[in-house]
């Protein structure tokens, strides 16, 4: 990804470089339209997923009275009913939280594992570095969905398993980025100084290395979140996420796909929501990444 953004990096003014790296990153990202648009879209969808249930006209798992399955929009059910005669709008308003929580947890797990491994690899160098990164490369040979499916074949569709599988397959990608960013920081004087005065390894990793690689990691976290929303929604579309009668965007698409000609809304609403959520987060990620590379470039020019 970095190669792609590097040529379109944001210019960073010299006076900006004295401020804290986080504020520089955020303000440089904020100056681009794509970040604002992306954040707006993301917040709209997160708001729908979290607070939508408060305004839902019906409970998610209850049929609408006097309505057949796949009924068209009417005054009773504003966007019609689904395959079991339940209110489409209500199920949509309830169904976003699971996608958001599962992909958020998986991304957090993948970030913690990946950053730990990447930092340890960069700091230890030598054989341990090689071993860790080669192991990470092996895990790249299975696509995220395939790995999750292999686990689901053994244990069945369990939510903890889904988070574990998606988090675990996020790890190698994050580890590469974390190691790449940390390798040059390890060589700097303040790390040598910390070693010299005998600060324990774990403290060096957490309080010397980690703060200095936070910008690329924030970028990576945003991009991983965007990918993981797609993976989690895809798995629940395939029937390996939440199980019926739960209201979940991926599952809604699965359940109502056969009724597309009669009633497109129970498929279209979650499809549009998932599309917007992935596009929104990836716009924010792209804005952040252009800003981070601009900062990197400014530092190199000093």
């Amino acid at each position: 990804m970095s190669e792609i953004a590097s040529i379109d990096a944001v210019e960073i003014a010299p006076e900006d470089r004295r401020r804290s790296p986080w504020r520089v990153l955020v303000s440089a990202a904020w100056r681009q339209h794509r970040t604002k648009i992306g954040l707006g879209i993301t917040l709209l969808l997160v708001g729908t997923a979290v607070f939508g249930r408060l305004v839902a006209p019906y409970p998610p798992d209850q049929g609408v009275e006097n309505q057949l399955p796949f009924a068209p929009p009417s005054s009773d059910a504003l966007l019609g009913t689904d395959d079991l005669g339940r209110d489409v709008l209500s199920r949509f308003l309830y169904g976003g939280l699971s996608v958001l929580l599962l992909s958020g947890l998986a991304t957090a797990l993948g970030m913690v594992l990946g950053v730990s491994i990447g930092l340890v690899a960069a700091y230890s160098r030598g054989k341990l570095d090689d071993l860790l990164m080669r192991t990470m490369d092996v895990f790249l040979s299975l696509p995220q969905i395939v790995f999750a499916l292999v686990l689901a074949a053994t244990v069945g569709p369990k939510l903890w398993l889904l988070v574990l599988a998606v988090g675990f397959t996020t790890m190698p990608r994050v580890a590469r980025v974390a190691r790449g960013a940390a390798v040059e920081v390890v060589e700097r004087d303040f790390v040598r100084a910390a070693e010299a005065i005998g600060i324990p390894r774990r403290r060096i990793l957490l309080s010397e290395l980690l703060p200095n690689v936070s910008s690329p990691l924030i970028v990576e976290a945003t991009l991983r979140m965007s990918f993981n929303v797609a993976v989690v929604a895809g798995l629940s579309f395939l029937g390996f996420g939440l199980q019926p009668p739960a209201a979940d965007w991926g599952l809604m698409i699965n359940e109502n796909q056969n009724g597309l000609t009669l009633q497109p809304w129970p498929v279209l609403l979650p499809v549009i929501a998932i599309a917007l959520l992935t596009i929104g987060t990836s716009l924010v990620g792209d804005g952040l990444s252009r800003a981070a590379i601009g900062i990197e470039r400014g530092r190199g020019g000093e």
């Binding site: 490369d137 790249l140 040979s141 969905i145 053994t154 244990v155 797609a230 395939l238 497109p264």
Partner: protein, 323 residues
Amino acid sequence: MSPGRGLTGFIVRRLLLGLVTLWITSVVIFAATQALPGDAARSILGRSATPESLADLRARLGLDKSVLTQYWEWISGIFTGDLGTSLANSLPVTEVIGERLVYTFFLMLIAGAISIPLGIALGAISARRRDSAFDQATSVATLGLAALPEFVVAITLAVIFSTTVFHVLPSVIVTEPGSRPWDYPRELVLPVITLIIAVVPYTARIMRASTVEILESDFVEMARLKGLPERRVLWRHAVPNALAPTFQITALNLAYLAGGIVVVEAVFNYPGIGLLLVDSVRARDMPTVQAIALLIAALYVVLNLLADVATILVSPRLRTSLG
């Protein structure tokens, strides 16, 4: 890269690395499917299973032997072309997969043959007209499309072209036994377009980035100073050198596409190995799941190897340093 050992030595080393990757992946797949704590036979048959049927299934899965023996039997079977017997229909796994593989390869081949040149052309033209309206539009479109999950694209296409808006293309494929994927040209259109939409954005973006970089380099400036027309500078001098990183990224994406193919095949009911994987996971058909997972890992290794070789062949500098 040690000098003097040439292209063959390089390929042999990459091949060995690929085999090691594949071997470790096979251990991971095996560990995930067979060696997890808990009784696989019971989780397949459910709580109501009788002791006899449990014992029978354990014997068929080889669960009554030690884990090492199980792994050895599986991995040595692969080398003799014996991937075990499908639990779903009692046919040899190789037979079940072989028929489906033709469908998946045909789909990937068509999608790849269209999307790779298309992505390269889009990227090169965007780089040439950097910051023009065309470049801006391509940039926004590829960023958005790259973010979309494959099943979202697939269902949107089905809504537009086969169910709700127009009814011009079939949204599912109904095959007859013994038929081949090329017997269904109309049914192939939507799955192929979905995969093209999944691959083109990445190829176009990386191609644009590397072409922009090369267009700013000294040797392109030299070509311009020699008075070559800009069109020739782009396609003869810049593009061949920008292809190397593009091949690397495209190979990675084609390999990840295997994940997308699972979902796309499920949406269109396309009878390839992706749909077979989903069905086998539902049926808890372990031997088939293991075989398909290993096959997908092998695809990743082969595509990476091809990308490495293609990189050397297209970049003059590497070609001479290895030759």
